[in-house]
């Protein structure tokens, strides 16, 4: 009883602490924006170099629905691509770790696949996957899985072979060794890659939207860029930053909960 009460109290204390820290960062952001606003006004910086933050906010508020719709669309594509890319990345890491021959045959090709700028292949993407949300998610997937594979392999390599031998001698199956030994050992490394992959898949989704679409941050970005609407570019930059921070935060939170043994040493 008393124990649970104690942990509840400390939990709410933690919550209050986090609330304060969030509030603090909000105040910092507001102060920063105010300073930028003042600098831009005071130095008379031309809007097509750096528009005032208030102008950016006004542009967002002029058509909030359009921006929210685009953010939502881009977020969906990103999440599908990210989840698929992470799972595939870890799976490939396991395969490549288990079978050296596969790794030596195909890992270089994986690297090669990442050296191809997708933007050069708009037509191929449309041909293969059409004009669907799925096509954008595929691109997000495509550019996000390699870091996960690389780091998973790196993490697996840190496992002491003597421990593996020990588990085997107790009759542990391959699956158990993977779950109990390899994955826990590699998770801290994998999470480093997942944080990278979250922003890479966002890039993939946005670039994917350049292949002919009507909604999405990528569309808004292109439109603003070619109409020389610098304020519009900034609204889109801020919108993608919000998505990116959200995703990064979500992955970090997951890391904090799952990899309690690896972090905060």
């Amino acid at each position: 009883m008393s124990l649970s009460g104690l942990s509840g109290a400390s939990l709410s204390a933690v919550k209050a602490g986090r609330f304060v820290s969030i509030l603090k960062s909000l105040i910092w952001i507001a102060a920063f924006l105010l300073v930028v606003e003042l600098i831009v006004v005071a130095l008379g910086i031309r809007p097509y170099y750096l528009p005032r933050p208030s102008a950016i906010a006004a542009a967002f508020l002029a058509t909030p629905q359009a921006y929210l719709l685009s953010m939502w669309r881009t977020l969906l594509e990103t999440i599908i691509g990210f989840v698929a890319g992470s799972l595939f990345g870890v799976a490939m890491g396991v395969l490549f770790h288990r079978w050296t021959i596969l790794r030596e045959l195909f890992f270089p090709l994986f690297v090669v696949s990442q050296t191809i700028p997708v933007i050069a292949f708009g037509a191929v993407v449309v041909l293969w996957f059409g004009n669907t949300l799925f096509a954008k998610a595929v691109i997000a997937f495509y550019i996000s899985f390699l870091p996960v594979t690389v780091n998973a392999l790196l993490g697996f390599a840190t496992v002491d072979p003597r421990q593996v031998a020990l588990m085997r001698s107790f009759g542990a199956k391959e699956g158990q060794i993977l779950r109990r030994l390899y994955l826990p050992a590699a998770l801290p490394q994998i999470f480093v890659a997942l944080k990278l992959a979250s922003s890479l898949s966002l890039i993939g989704a946005i670039v994917g939207e350049w292949f002919g679409d009507t909604t999405g941050l990528g569309v808004l970005l292109l439109q603003a860029m070619y109409n020389e609407n610098v304020v519009g570019i900034w609204v889109t930059i801020v919108a993608s930053a919000c998505l990116g921070i959200g995703l990064y935060g979500a992955v970090s939170e997951a890391e904090r909960r799952i990899v309690f043994w690896g972090a905060e040493q």
Partner: protein, 253 residues
């Protein structure tokens, strides 16, 4: 010992080529077998022929892009590592720096490109800056993770021998972090070339991205693929060099 390592290296390189050859063979056969027109997928042989025909142009473009990517890459690595070390030396700045870095990195580099092109023009500087931004975050993140790997007990132990902050950093933290730092550097090699190419596509005086852009407009798909293969080759060499350094380091350790 070293001969064993050398022979296993030779085997790996051999298998890498075998994998590439397998892919090329499947590609060539499916293009011929399904009789695909060039505008869907050109055959490997026609791309290779195109590369030979345009060798001079491609080599010049490759030098241009490689110079941008390499300069930006080095700059990005220095910035990334320095920032990570700074953050770990002054823990109070950590959350602020991390959130700013995340915010900047969350925006796809392509979103900055119009601004960077606007500010710095379409010369090499804009590409170098873009590559540096893209690389520095990846390296920063891996370095921070690497520096965090040192466990408290080792630090306390070294401290108890009277080591200062710098000594702890130099003797303990950086060596422990090195594998992760290099892993981050390895992943960013590829990204640096792509970012240079994508930025070139939006405005440049030369480079592989510029060649690709022109070739798409002139509907010359063989040249598009030829430029892409050259780009891949550059990234792969780059990746290979960093992997080699990484291996040497691990061997030495």
């Amino acid at each position: 010992m070293s001969t064993v390592a050398a022979s296993s290296n030779a085997r790996r390189i051999g298998r890498g080529f075998a994998g590439a050859f397998l892919l090329a063979a499947i590609w060539e056969l499916s293009v011929r077998g399904f009789n695909l027109p060039t505008y869907v997928l050109p055959s490997v042989s026609s791309i290779l022929a195109g590369m030979v025909a345009d060798a001079g142009k491609l080599a010049a473009a490759a030098r241009f892009t490689a110079a941008e990517a390499l300069t930006g890459y080095l700059l990005g690595c220095v910035i990334g590592i320095a920032a990570a070390v700074g953050v770990s030396m002054v823990p109070r700045t950590r959350s602020a720096v991390m959130s700013v870095a995340t915010a900047i990195n969350s925006v796809p580099v392509v979103a900055y490109s119009p601004l960077v092109l606007l500010w710095l023009g379409i010369g090499m500087t804009s590409k170098i800056v873009m590559v540096a931004v893209a690389v520095s975050f990846t390296v920063f993140l891996s370095t921070v993770a690497g520096l965090d790997r040192v466990d408290r007990k080792s630090i306390d132990l070294v401290r108890s021998f009277g080591a200062g902050r710098m000594a702890v950093l130099w003797r303990l933290r950086l060596p422990t972090a090195l594998p992760l730092i290099i892993a981050g550097m390895r992943v960013s090699t590829v990204r640096s070339v792509i970012v240079a190419i994508v930025t070139e596509m939006l405005g440049a005086y030369g480079g592989l991205g510029w060649v690709i852009y022109q070739a798409v407009l002139q509907i010359d798909f063989v040249q598009v693929w030829a430029a892409i293969i050259v780009a891949s080759a550059i990234s792969l060499c780059f990746f290979g060099v960093i992997s080699f350094i990484e291996q040497r380091y691990i061997f030495w350790r």
